[in-house]
């Protein structure tokens, strides 16, 4: 039963042809990724939708530097937040649009009166605390169910973290440049692209393989194939090759739309290729395993959904995992898709190759294990 590339290619050709000819295959390979990026890009990243509006109330009255000069760190924080966007015009869909609120107002009531949920309150004594390296909290008002809150939270945390770094290091220069603290390319669309690529790499192979593995068994197609020299490994590898191909196509389509329609910034590096290969490898194997351990197409679909849906929403596909509550972040860290999306974020946005290698390595180990289990438990012959 030696491995035969010829048989694998024959299997791949038949499968590819079926996918190209079927309307569903065509839709999910070429149309669906574009719809996804257009839809979620429009919802989350503007394109007519205005940038996140944030109300700010600054109670800080300034403090004194060792040189004797006075400085208002609260104002500087506001300036740093303001610098995340060019202006508050509808054409600028990035960053925050700040609206100042008078210190006389009850902030919470004011937010309600504006039907707004996102706001920042800088406490009095902020400058004094900051300059004496004390921990001073900025209060962030947000609505966890609002999509803009996630953006606001992300941006404000980064800006505030930037301030923390400078505060703790003892550099108390007034010449703080907030731009260095805020990733200049930080836009929702930027991490939406890796998220949606992960989403594609998860859903197409999972749904297809769960379905195939159970219906082929029902229709005795596996029995028919078992009567040929084709091996299970060759069969499964041909599916992996196909879905690596479709994932690469999705990546190209989504990136083109993301960059040209929504002005996304992505770094094209070879690290991306690792995840475009290993992601489908893992999910094809997982789909096969799920379909194999289920007795009927119906139960396979249920188990498939149970496995797929939590990953679809909790792995950082549509929202950054860092914006989720801690207990959900814990859940995300046991979902394999998280490591694919995290890895893609690391190579496409942050350029962090160390963590990306960890993500990739973990997925490779998982893939080999799941692939082995799928081939082991998947029986062509006796039911």
């Amino acid at each position: 039963m030696a491995f035969s590339p010829r048989r694998m290619v024959a299997e791949l050709r038949v499968y590819a042809r079926s996918n190209v000819r079927s309307r569903e295959g065509f839709f999910f390979t070429l149309i669906f990724p574009i719809i996804l990026i257009l839809l979620f890009g429009a919802i989350f990243a503007g394109g007519g939708v205005s940038q996140a509006t944030v109300y700010v109330q600054n109670h800080d009255s300034g403090g004194q530097l060792p040189t004797g000069a006075t400085v208002n760190i609260g104002d500087q924080l506001v300036a740093a937040l303001n610098a995340t966007s060019n202006d508050c015009s509808p054409s600028d869909s990035s960053g925050l649009c700040l609206r100042s609120v008078s210190t006389n107002q009850n902030f919470s009531s004011y937010l309600s009166s504006q039907s707004a949920s996102d706001g920042i309150v800088i406490p009095s004594g902020f400058s004094a605390g900051f300059l004496s390296s004390q921990k001073i909290n900025v209060t962030l008002f947000r609505n966890p169910s609002s999509t803009t809150s996630a953006v606001v939270y992300g941006i404000v945390s980064q800006v505030v973290n930037g301030f923390d770094v400078y505060g703790a290091s003892g550099v108390r220069s007034v010449g703080i440049s907030p731009r260095t603290a805020v990733s200049s390319s930080y836009k929702y669309i930027d991490f939406l692209i890796p998220g949606l690529i992960g989403f594609s790499a998860l859903t197409s192979p999972m749904f297809a393989l769960v379905n195939i593995s159970s219906t082929y068994r029902r229709d005795k197609v596996f029995k028919l194939l078992s009567l040929t020299p084709l091996t299970k490994t060759e069969w499964l590898l041909s599916k992996i090759i196909w879905y690596v191909g479709t994932t690469i196509v999705s990546f190209i389509l989504m990136s083109v739309v993301g960059v040209y329609v929504f002005g996304a910034h992505i770094a094209l590096t070879w690290g991306i290729a690792m995840f475009l290969v290993i992601g489908p490898f893992f999910f094809v194997s997982l789909g096969m395993l799920v379909g194999t351990i289920s007795n009927t197409p119906e139960s396979a679909a249920v188990v498939g959904n149970l496995v797929t849906f939590p990953m679809m929403f909790l792995s950082g596909t549509f929202f950054p995992v860092s914006s989720m509550p801690m207990y959900l972040q814990g859940v995300a860290h046991v979902l394999p898709l998280f490591y694919m999306i995290d890895g893609l974020n690391n190579v496409m946005i942050y350029g962090n190759y160390g963590p990306a290698l960890f993500d990739g390595g973990l997925l490779i180990v998982l893939s080999v294990v799941v692939f082995g289990l799928a081939v082991r438990f998947f029986r062509w012959r006796e039911d």
Binding site: M1, E11, S18, P229
Partner: protein, 306 residues
Amino acid sequence: MPAIVVDGLLKNYGQLRAVDGISFTVEKGEVFSLLGPNGAGKTTTIEILEGLRQQDGGTARVLELDPWNKGYDLHKKIGVIPQGFKFLDYPTPREAIAYFGALFGKKVDPDEMLRRVILEDAANIWFQNLSGGQKQKLGMALSLVNDPEVVFLDEPTTGLDPQARRAVWEVIRKLKNEGRTVMLTTHYLEEAEELADRVAIMDHGKIAAMGTTEQIESRYGSGQKMIVKANEDLLTYLKENTRLQASGDGGYVTILLRDKNDALVALGAIEESGTNWGDLTVRRDTLEDVFLRLVGPEGRSEQESD
């Protein structure tokens, strides 16, 4: 050596004994038919021989190989159409044949294969759009791609219209003429009569009768019968005035003819009875009569796991 040797074959599904210690041999070049109602154990038997299921007892050898343990070697020498043959929706017959050729590493001419199974007209139609008969013919073509010595056909004509059935029969006759061994399961008696050199009638996992159709008919059949369209009066007359064995059913009276004299007595008695009669025929028990006698008139269609 025979092509197929089965000895004391056993297979259970939980409590159900699907195959109950059957034995038979099939010679090379022979067309052998397993005949029986649904649930008789035909498909289980044939799937054990194909290496798709493992028996619980007894032995099975196909071309001297153990089908379960030597399946990978055996499959290069046999051709199979599973019951209710289905394939992927989108390949055309021509592509499907080329695909199987590539899997077997055989150089096949798809057009030649299509001609052999009389499917040239549908060469470029997607599988999902083929008719039932065309699908079965493609199944035949795929089973022949590896030039098999033994071909297993599991109910190849079930659900086909009479024309499609005859076309499939034509292909099976060709296989026999090419010297291949064919094992055929069917629940159509005329199919077995038309095609098979020998028949085994299966019921409840056992072989109820085996031999050529003539052998089975003469051994289990009742001999010649005279059938007359007539009412109950004739039956009463015969019973009161002759020693003939007669029975009535649905406006027909059937008289068993044990010898030539019975025939003459019967004709005389019918005329003398003065009853209104017509449509007189004389015939011998067919395989169907024997089949119904052996497995009962109802069949067992409630049981599909054969």
